[in-house]
Amino acid sequence: MSLMSYLGAIGAAQREAMDADERVIIIGEDVEANVYGTTGGGKSRADKGDFLQMYGRDRIRNTPISEEAIVGFAAGAAMTGLRPIVDLSYSSFLYMAMDQFVNQVAKNRYMFGGQASMPVVFRSAMFYGLNTGAHHSDRPYPMFMNVPGLKIIAPSSPSDAKGLLRYAIDSDDPVLTFEACLLWGSKEEVSDEEYRIPFGKARIAREGTDVTVVAISSSVPEAVAAADAMAAEGVSVEVIDPRTLVPMDTRAILESVSKTGRLVVAEPAHRTCGAAGEISAIVSEEIFDALKAPIIRVTAPDMQIPFSPALEKQMYPNRITIADAIRKVAGLR
C-alpha cells in the first residue's frame, strides 16, 4: 500500500497498463509535458516516471487542439488493434467531438452487427467548484448516459480511480471516465498491486439502516460527511456510490432502499434528466411499496455555473444540503 492521491492513482493505472500491453497508447493535448499530472513523474524529463522517456513518442501522442479528430482517430485505431487512452482534459471539450462519440464510437459495433470492437478509454475531468466559470465547469456525464453503446464511470476515491481505470482499459467497449477535479488531491492508502474493479458493482461507502443516500462523484465524500453528522442526530445513513453509471448496479441500490425505505440521491450534475432522476425512477418503478417517504434529489439546479465564488459555492450538493435532505426524508423536519 502507498498513500496515493486520486490523480496519482490514475497515473499509476496508466503506467501499469502501458507496461502490460504495447497496444495501449495515450493520446491527448499536452500529455508529453504531463500538464494534467497523469503522464509523468516530476518536473524534469529526467525524473523517474516520465511517460515520454519510458514509452516514447509513438505511444505518447501529443495532439493538436482537434478534439473531433482526436476522438475519431482513437476510435479508428481501437477498431484496428490499438487500445488508446484518450486524455481530453476538461469534460466540456467533449462537445467538440460529439459526432464522433455519438455516431461512431457508440454506434459502430452495433451498426456493423458486432464486427467492430472499440477498446478505447476517454478520460476527462470535471473542473466544477473551482471558479472557472460556465465554460469549464460542466458535469456532462448524464448526456452521455443517454447514448447506448458507451460505458460511463465516475470514480470518487483514489482506489476506485485506479481499479476502475484499469478495468476500463482492459474492456473491449468504449468507456468514458468522468473524473472530478475537486477530488484530485484526495488521498488514501492504495494497493501497489495491479487490480481491477469490475463495472456494475457499487461501493457501500458507509453502512446504515435508516436512510439510503446514493451519491455520485464528489458528492460521495459530502454524503459521507453528512452521514457522520446525522449519526450524531441518531439517524443511521447508508451511502452508496454506484461508481459506474453505465452499467449501473441497480441491485445494490434496490437492496439498500428495501432495507431503509428512504432515499436521497445526490449528484453534481443538473437536475433535468440527470443520473439522480434515473435512479429515482428505477427505485419508484421497482420497489415503490418499500418507500416510506418520497425520494429527494439533491443536484445542481438547471442553471449555468456562475464565476464568482460567492455565487458558485451554492450550486452543488454539499454536506449541509445533503443532511437537510436526509432530515426531510427521515421526517425530522
Binding site: G72, Y110, M111
Partner: protein, 339 residues
C-alpha cells in the same frame, strides 16, 4: 491539372488480370446498384439507397490500388466501396433488404455497410464522420508497424466539413499512411460544389504540406488507379498522407426513389456525362488495346449479371432476423446489454 508531381518513378502498369478485375468490379457496382434502385422503387428495399452509377471508375480505380488487407471507410454512397474492395454481393444485398444474413445482420442497412473481412471499416450516414476513422486505422498501422494503408472516401460536400481538416493536419504531422479521397461528383445533394467551395479541393493539400492531386478524368479507371497507387506507395514508404480529388458525375438522382425539389441539374449536362460512361470507356479501351475481345467482355457482363441474380436469390431465401437480435451487439459483454 496535376497539382504536384509525384516523386520517383511512375508505378507499374496494371496487369491484364488486374484490368479484367477492374472491369468486373465496375460491372458489379453497376448491376448491383441498378438492381437495388429497382428494388427500392418496388418497395423490396426499405428506405432508400444512394447509387454509385456513373462513378464506378472513381471507386474501383481506388479500391483496386489497395491491397486486400488495407483499410477503407466510406459514406452514404455506400455500396460501391465494399464491392470495389471485394466484398461478396449476397450479404451486401441481404443487408439492404434487412435480412439476418446481411453483412451487418440487418442492423446497418445501406448506409452502414461494413465488411471487416475485406478491410471495409464502415460506411457512414453522417457526412464527413468516417474520415477520422480511416486516419485512426492508419495510426494503428503506424504504431503497430504494419504495412497497411487506409483510405477515406468522401464527397465534395464532405470536403467542407471541419473534421476533414483536423484529420489531414494530424495525419500530416504524424505522417500516417492514409489517403483522403474526395469523390467530386460536383453536387452535394442539390448544391453545386462550385457554389459552396472556395478554391480547388485538391489545392487545400498544399496548405497542410501534404501531397495533393486532382484527377480530372475520373471516368478513366486507370487514371484513378495510378493516382491512388502512387499515394499508397508513398504512404507505405512513410511519406505520409495524400489528398486526391477525383472529378466524376453521378448518373442517377442523389438517392433512389427520392423526388428532389426544383431541377438543379441541367439535363444537357447529364447527357454529356452519360457519354462518358466509365464502363463503356474501359470496355472500348480493353478491346482497342487488344487485351480482350468483345466476346470475352460480353461473357464477363453475363457472369456479373448472374452474380447479382444470385445475390438477390440469396437475399430472397434468407430469413429476417429474430426480433431479439435487436438487443445484441451493443457491447462485447452480454450481461451488460440493456434489453
Amino acid at each position: 491539372m496535376i497539382k504536384q508531381e509525384a516523386k520517383g518513378s511512375s508505378m507499374a502498369a496494371p496487369t491484364k488480370d488486374q484490368m479484367l478485375e477492374m472491369q468486373r468490379r465496375m460491372l458489379r457496382i453497376r448491376y448491383f446498384d441498378e438492381r437495388a434502385s429497382k428494388m427500392v422503387k418496388r418497395g423490396h428495399i426499405p428506405g432508400t439507397v444512394h447509387t454509385s452509377i456513373g462513378q464506378e471508375a472513381q471507386v474501383v480505380g481506388a479500391t483496386m490500388a489497395l491491397r486486400d488487407e488495407d483499410y477503407m471507410t466510406g459514406n452514404h454512397r455506400s455500396h460501391g466501396h465494399p464491392i470495389g474492395k471485394g466484398s461478396p454481393l449476397g450479404p451486401l444485398m441481404a443487408e439492404l433488404v434487412g435480412k439476418a444474413t446481411g453483412v451487418c445482420k440487418g442492423k446497418g442497412g445501406s448506409l452502414h455497410l461494413a465488411d471487416f473481412s475485406v478491410g471495409s471499416l464502415g460506411e457512414s450516414g453522417i457526412v464527413g464522420s468516417s474520415i477520422p476513422i480511416a486516419a485512426g486505422a492508419a495510426l494503428s498501422a503506424s504504431v503497430l508497424k504494419k504495412s497497411h494503408v487506409s483510405l477515406a472516401f468522401f464527397g465534395d460536400g464532405a470536403a467542407n466539413q471541419g473534421v476533414l481538416y483536423e484529420s489531414i493536419n494530424m495525419a500530416g504531422v504524424w505522417k500516417l499512411p492514409v489517403i483522403f479521397l474526395c469523390e467530386n461528383n460536383q453536387y452535394a445533394l442539390s448544391t453545386p460544389a462550385h457554389t459552396v467551395t472556395s478554391g480547388v479541393i485538391a489545392d487545400r493539400a498544399a496548405g497542410f504540406g501534404i501531397f495533393g492531386v486532382r484527377v480530372e478524368n475520373g471516368q478513366d479507371v486507370l487514371e484513378v488507379f495510378n493516382a491512388v497507387s502512387e499515394a499508397a506507395a508513398r504512404a507505405r514508404a512513410g511519406e505520409g498522407p495524400s489528398l486526391i480529388e477525383v472529378v466524376t458525375y453521378r448518373f442517377n438522382e442523389h438517392s433512389e426513389g427520392l423526388r428532389i425539389g426544383t431541377d438543379y441539374r441541367d439535363p444537357e449536362e447529364r447527357e454529356q456525362w452519360l457519354k462518358r460512361d466509365p464502363i463503356v470507356l474501359f470496355r472500348n479501351h480493353l478491346i482497342a488495346e487488344g487485351h480482350f475481345t468483345a466476346e470475352e467482355l460480353d461473357a464477363l457482363e453475363a457472369e456479373v449479371l448472374a452474380e447479382v441474380d444470385e445475390a438477390v436469390r440469396f437475399t430472397d431465401e434468407s430469413p429476417y432476423p429474430e426480433p431479439e437480435t435487436a438487443f445484441a451487439d451493443l457491447y462485447t459483454d452480454k450481461e451488460e446489454q440493456f434489453a
